[in-house]
Assembly symmetry: D2
Homo-oligomer: 268 residues x 4
């Protein structure tokens, strides 16, 4: 059995001796039933700047927080998972043509499999959390994330008016595309510092929303003690330390998404 470092034309995933296939030319991955809750807040740009690689310029000092429940995920046999993303609007200077998108500071997901794919195949900064399904009680929407029984994230939204037809058409324009940026970093094996692989990544996702409502709401971060959550406490502490200068209007949306791995690439 050969797991060649030369390009033998196969696509592989670990365990690479079991998982290999001819490239389909594809990578277009439909998610048939998605619900998002999101809200954003303006923060201090200098503090935020520390966490965004210098290859990206911050287009607005905004912390965008989104919860999403993804169902009907085709590549998972129609199964589902949930996620919480924290992102910043940025611009990447690629040659002469700048690209606008969002740089993900962190993505929590509640299933391991999309985390593995996202990190290894696209440099998405995914890590694990328990994310109970969002609750709706009348006009109140509520979400949280926790680690081994300890809450670290809460989002509370109040439902406002439905988007107008024009507003809905607006967020669906241009395939409802969101350009995601990440940074793929694979370390050297063993006690040696430094990367085996380190690069900016580009990974678009298209969306078609069938309904959308404005929301207002808040986000609460609870920083765990290091002994409670050694591997993520610094991440949560960094997010909690970003000042909330002003909340913008959020939203509650339903629709479909399409992952565009066929368009993904490493950035020069």
């Amino acid at each position: 059995m050969r797991i060649s470092t030369r390009d033998d034309g196969l696509t592989r995933r670990m365990p690479a001796h079991f998982r290999q296939w001819p490239p389909s030319g594809g990578g277009v991955s439909p998610y048939d039933d998605c619900t998002t809750l999101e809200v954003s807040y303006l923060t201090d740009e200098e503090t935020l700047r520390q966490y965004v690689p210098e290859e990206f310029s911050i287009t607005r000092p905004l912390v965008m927080v989104m919860y999403e429940k993804c169902s009907g995920v085709r590549w998972m046999g129609g199964s589902q998972y949930s996620l919480v993303t924290v992102s910043v609007p940025v611009q990447y200077m690629a040659g002469k043509q700048p690209i606008d998108g969002i740089y993900h500071l962190v993505i929590w997901e509640d299933k391991c499999e999309p985390i593995l794919g996202g990190r290894e195949e696209a440099g998405m900064p995914k890590i694990f959390a328990d994310i109970p399904e969002y609750r709706r009680n009348g006009d109140s929407l509520s979400v949280n994330a926790s680690h081994e029984g300890r809450t670290f994230f809460e989002m509370e939204l109040v439902l406002g008016p439905a988007f107008s037809g024009d507003a809905l058409a607006g967020i669906n324009a241009d395939n409802g595309r969101v350009v995601q940026f990440g940074w793929r970093y694979i370390p050297r094996v063993g006690p040696y510092p430094g990367p085996a692989l380190s690069e900016a990544t580009y990974y678009p996702v298209d969306n078609t929303f069938s309904s959308a409502y404005a929301c207002s709401g808040t986000v609460t971060w609870t920083v765990p003690a290091r002994r409670q959550h050694p591997t993520q406490c610094d991440i949560i502490a960094a997010l909690a330390a970003l000042p909330v200068n002003d909340y913008l209007s959020g939203s509650f949306r339903k629709g479909t998404s399409t992952m565009r791995m066929d368009l993904a690439r490493s950035l020069p």
Copy 2:
């Protein structure tokens, strides 16, 4: 913020803009309370050969199946996780000095965090499964693994006599070291086939067993339909197709383990 491809002397993990530290020279990671249940069976070497990279020679056509409950995991703040490994005894020819160890065909774990570290930092072929804690009912020991409510692995053991003092000392000799081999494979981003990184890896683990009992038992694989478990059905099918020619004696052991990332490295 700079996530350099040059070696700036820091150790990083994704999200690399949040997680970075000076190398400690360490990587010695204690697991204070471990329980293993294992059994092996002889199989057909030619079939097995398909799944072991040609850099390794198979020293015995043996499928080694081990369940482990790891508690008191220091790097997780004293938390715990469970795993099921399927491995083959192999020899790697590194320069003039061959190295004996086990090549992991697959490692299922029930928490995401050790999966991420094992894959990205050491090429361990870890994937996710639900692994309920082992059951003990008198002399019967029982373990299973499942995916979204569908059982795919079962191990049933009957407890036999305790190891003699000499036998226990034997498995603890030379730090009870087990040399683990894996294959780290990181694909190119996007629809392009082939690896961005592909290499054999070496990652030892030391063990001190405080008690051990002989066991006899069996392993049952249930292959899921592709639609039920698209990403792992081929792995389980490959394992289920390895003939069980003869079961060897297994064991039930308790003790401590020490991960030796300080000794881990990519193999030439």
Copy 3:
């Protein structure tokens, strides 16, 4: 503190020293967002008869199997749970006026709280199972239930045509009411046989379906060994032993439900 056996006018639940309130006259409990998948099969009436108390006559020897995902459950703060019911159409002779409804053979639910309420307050035969959210992959719908990693129930449906407006109005007529019957049985404390309480119960639920599709499909029971699932293996074995003589058309529906505890009562 007094937990009186005399009627002091308060409604209580265990722990009764903490949970007590004046009766609201209510018990009307809305479930804002429900999805059901169901299919039925004709079976042998004599075999079925063994499991239906003699106070009820079987109106058709039908095993009705339904999965339901309940979201927006108001009494749970807008949270959700899932269930699988196995029921038989029956008639209860109450005085001169017979009541038609369904007798639940068993109800599996994946959260403990509705199980407690259903059993203690209404004699619903609820027990626990892990019930992953239903999967939809194109026209295929799939559900399973498991216990500690061992699958015991699977339902596979293929989506057919949407209900006509008339057909939808039909299932919504008369408040879409389903009369549920159960048998509340509380044993004596200690090693003594026999009940402290034993009675038939009546508990209606109203439904408003916003969409419905015909389905065809099948149910598969896998009987666990006694040692694997001591408390439910007999239940699953009894269900698995009911012959499947003919499958009837099933359905996939979405809508709202209202529990009518305000109408519930013990039957004479």
Copy 4:
């Protein structure tokens, strides 16, 4: 099929048409491998008095908090569950002979099945919580409980010296028996206030500890908002409002337990 209210000599559980057996004369239920972490604090007796039925006198105004991981549970096929109990030392005046024991204010458990049995068969005030396995990190022991991702209970202990042989023999004397008292309360069906069944209960458990260490530590209650946890917020609020006047020494113990349902009974 007959689920008689007359005593036909069978023992039944809901679903009573499926679950029935001749009384074994038994009810002695071994738990082969148990670990407890416990700590107590003195509180205000008048506040505490509100929650203890007047049939019991409080022997010391003590809030006893115990976490237990139970493994090798025979009646569950060798499986395991975890629990957190909050109890008060009391005396019950039964005829001329007073009985000393503990009155459980609440018992959280992380599996549904022992909750059902405990409530219905013995009046134990059991309710559900997620209870991750205790963590041990050197001399630090840590436990929490949560509901749908929201922490409400935390216990932190520091390990002290091992019990002397005499001290260990002391806690094992008289079968290490703990007499548990509860209050079994089953409401009337429907909107009517008042009980169908309401009585004090007696349920002993025997223990044999193989090791024990003194501990010091603390308990933290976090009261959820009503909308977050409607059914338990009042319970947690009542516990949180009991003042912590003085912590007593706690313990960390390992051993076996035997449930003595053969001795359980309703109290007159």
